[in-house]
């Protein structure tokens, strides 16, 4: 019943269009905003295959989520839809949403080619030293959970990871006056071949 009550309040808040730029993010307005996020990112924020692959946010690092929302606003990361989503959010709402997503833990949606997983695991754990590709695990952690501004990759959507790694320098670090941490990944994304990208994306997509 309490859940139901919470849902009612959330819906009411949504209907009354609680101002998103309010100084304090009330529980009701956060719930309303969360259900708005989940329209695209999936019912438990486990990710969703929309027109484009829409990333899993569940279990994501709080600092990473906050940094990306700021990146959309500051045109460091180009994405028109997410710019429109993000630029109305108050700092308090950004923090509240990031905490909420971090706390979710649905199973990965899967769907990646199983045959690539073993090669992907090797790239993730060992890198490809001869090609100057660093081991993903060094920064993203042995379980791909990430830390701080370094994102969780575990359970992330296969097609989303393929798209991000393929388009890294076209989508991220786009504001020359505000260089950001996305530069760290540039040489890695650039050095990975298409088949290596697919392998490592398949591997992490199944991690819980």
């Amino acid at each position: 019943m309490r859940l139901h009550g919470g849902l009612h309040i959330a819906l009411l808040a949504l209907l009354l269009a609680a101002p998103a730029h309010a100084e304090n993010a009330s529980r009701g307005s956060v719930q309303a905003k969360l259900s708005y996020c989940k329209d695209c990112h999936g019912a438990s924020a486990q990710g969703f295959r929309g027109y484009f692959p829409i990333p899993r946010l569940a279990g994501q690092q709080t600092e990473y989520l906050e940094n990306q929302l700021r990146a959309f606003i500051e045109h460091r990361r180009t994405n028109n839809i997410m710019f429109n989503v993000a630029h109305t959010l108050s700092p308090a709402m950004v923090s509240a949403l990031a905490e909420s997503f971090h706390a979710l833990n649905p199973p990965p949606i899967g769907g990646a080619p199983r045959g690539l997983v073993e090669e992907g695991r090797k790239i993730f754990e060992d890198g490809v030293p001869d090609d100057n590709i660093a081991a993903c695990a060094a920064c993203h952690g042995p379980d791909a959970t990430g830390t701080g501004e370094i994102p969780r990759l575990a359970g992330q959507l296969y097609p989303y990871l393929v798209k991000e790694l393929t388009n890294w320098g076209k989508e991220r670090g786009q504001n020359p006056s505000q260089p950001d941490t996305s530069a760290i990944m540039s040489p890695v994304a650039h050095s990975l071949s298409k088949s290596q990208i697919e392998a490592v994306a398949a591997y992490v997509s199944y991690l819980k």
Partner: protein
């Protein structure tokens, strides 16, 4: 142990002769130019498999993915050490240790075992010549206590002053590593896990000292060196 003296002598000779080829360059570009001159002059010893300047630059970029811009260190999933300004002989010794599994680190084993001796020398020289500001991420209020341990040791616990081997300015010498500007969290991790991770040349020198320090003393000395330039 028996070969330590010999190793030190040969390493120090090599280190000195290599250093004399560098007129205190501070920027990567200058370091690389010097490096190319060094390699093409055949001084690196293995002229046949000497890497090109481009190959060295690509490998350095790869190192910096994890070790941070200008190799100043980076807080990855674990703290990833500063390599900038590090002693040439120490870098060479550690890379060898990873490759021979005398220093346990799976990621660095994979990195290290594909490097040719000439590439190791080239990387060590380039990293030695970098000089970015320290990240300086230790708690400031521990610095004074750390300075005292660093300079005077803890005689009651038979802990030597760090300065005895690492130098008054913590820049190290030959196989003794530079500690100046090293990441606070990394120094703590190393001193706490010394003998579980290291069994390479000369690491036994530090073992009793690492054991003799309390957690609080380790934090203090790690904070102190993290701010040194």
């Amino acid at each position: 142990m028996r070969s330590r003296g010999q190793n030190c002598v040969s390493a120090s000779h090599q280190s000195i002769s290599l250093r004399s080829n560098f007129a205190h360059p501070t920027r990567l570009g200058v370091a690389l130019a010097a490096l190319i001159a060094l390699v093409s002059g055949g001084a690196a010893g293995a002229a046949n498999d000497a890497p090109t300047g481009q190959e060295v630059q690509a490998k350095l970029t790869y190192c910096e993915v994890c070790h941070g811009v200008s190799a100043q260190g980076f807080l990855g999933f674990s703290p990833i050490p500063r390599l900038a300004g590090q002693q040439v002989a120490y870098i060479r010794n550690q890379l060898q240790g990873f490759s021979e599994k005398k220093r346990a680190n799976n990621i660095m084993f994979n990195v290290g075992h594909v490097l040719s001796p000439a590439m190791i020398t080239a990387l060590a020289n380039s990293l030695h010549d970098l000089n970015p500001k320290p990240l300086g991420n230790g708690p400031k209020d521990l610095v004074d206590a750390g300075k005292q341990i660093y300079e005077q040791g803890v005689p009651s616990a038979n802990v030597l002053p760090c300065a005895t081997c690492h130098g008054a300015d913590a820049k190290g010498s030959d196989q003794f590593p530079r500690l100046a500007g090293q990441l606070y969290a990394y120094v703590i991790l190393q001193l706490t896990n010394w003998s579980k991770e290291r069994a390479e040349h000369n690491s036994d020198i530090m073992a009793p000292i690492a054991r003799g320090l309390t957690d609080a003393q380790i934090k203090a000395v790690a904070a102190y060196v993290s701010y040194l330039e």
